[in-house]
Subunit: 226 residues, 2 copies
């Protein structure tokens, strides 16, 4: 069964789906949508997704947006295996409890820090006020503290118990984003660093999905050393 | 089977679960947690939910937070009926697509407007800057425009087709919140007004869950007329 994935590797949930789908044996057709060129606002893409966002999948004509909804759907369709998305009701509920929390509990704060510190100056040609950046950083650090102690650091190596699930992958790709703005959560939270390395090693396409992001970081670090 | 619901009717997702669970034939035990008294920070409640938030359920000893995860779980357990949470995979995906979008697409903006305009002055004893309120209002109105045209206004009376689902109830309780800060979405969007009335009529416990909220609004309107 063919799955088309509309994605941009600069988008965290796009990377999650790219890494997941590439690791499965499915007939995957990759459709790049360049957010920096505004391709998500094009007439052609708006016909695919009226919300003008990536990622989106087209599974045999069924078009679906929202990464978490997509993963749930692909799990029901037996495309995502049980080890990554548990079928047992209570275990599944634990994965979903994290996925629902992460939207505003983790993703929002990492994404906003990235946006105000890295994207806004590029998009609007002006530096963001230092005090404003500090305020976004405080909120992100508080979210990372919650993630570090209330989801990790509870005696098991992964968010839900002893093995990797989609919850870990969603969290890991979000935590890569602020690195482009100069903040690497792994340098501040050893528990996060150990966990992130295990998630990275588990998924064979993890590094491939982060090639562009890592290039941006390398370029930034070179510039800041000049 | 007994379900304990920890809730506060000032919390939007608490109202959603209160309305849903009261309308079903389940053995419901209501456990009020007064957010205004800070009861969610108590040692007793932190033992129930380390995230210190409501709503939470305890279903025969299984404690679960995050309203959307709770509703999914109760649907799998056949406590929420199929008409409100579809079992067919693609229809279920449509409901979940909305639920995942609504966290940051709708809820965040309605909640932040309520917080900065209504709650912050009560909590911190100072009026929020008018320009800041206007900026939060703009973001909320933009979210309401998306909701009005991209989720409603597509030729069917409800978010997912011809009948009410949990998606409608989640959205409706969120849209009540900014009314306490003086903004009623129904007064600005006729499509939303028609839809909201249908959702309200569908659930027998809708008004009961909004008694406290409506009292706050009546008091506000009285004060503003003095």
């Amino acid at each position: 069964m063919a799955i088309k994935l509309y994605y941009d590797l600069m988008s965290q949930p796009s990377r999650t789906l790219y890494i997941l789908l590439k690791s499965l044996n499915c007939n995957l057709e990759l459709k790049s949508v360049d957010l920096r060129k505004g391709e998500h606002y094009s007439e052609e893409f708006t016909k695919v997704n009226r919300m003008q966002r990536v990622p989106v999948i087209d599974h045999n004509g069924f078009v679906l947006s929202e990464s978490v909804a997509i993963v749930k759907y692909l799990s029901r369709e037996n495309i995502i295996p049980e080890n990554l998305y548990p079928r047992e009701s209570r275990l599944q509920a634990r994965v979903e409890e994290f996925l629902e929390w992460h939207h505003v509990g983790l993703r929002l704060h990492c994404a906003m820090y990235f946006r105000v510190k890295y994207m806004d100056p590029i998009l609007f040609g002006r530096k963001t006020d230092e005090r404003q950046i500090a305020s976004y950083e405080r909120r992100m650090v508080s979210a990372l503290e919650d993630f570090n102690s209330k989801w990790l650091g509870r005696g098991t190596p992964f968010i839900v118990g002893e093995s990797v699930t989609v919850a870990d992958l969603f969290a890991a790709t979000e935590l890569e984003q602020p690195r482009m703005a100069g903040y690497d959560p792994k340098e501040h939270f050893p528990v996060i660093a150990t966990w992130a390395q295990k998630v990275r090693e588990f998924f064979p396409h993890y590094d491939e999905a982060h090639v562009i992001l890592n290039k941006v970081i390398a370029k930034q670090s070179k510039t800041s050393k000049l």
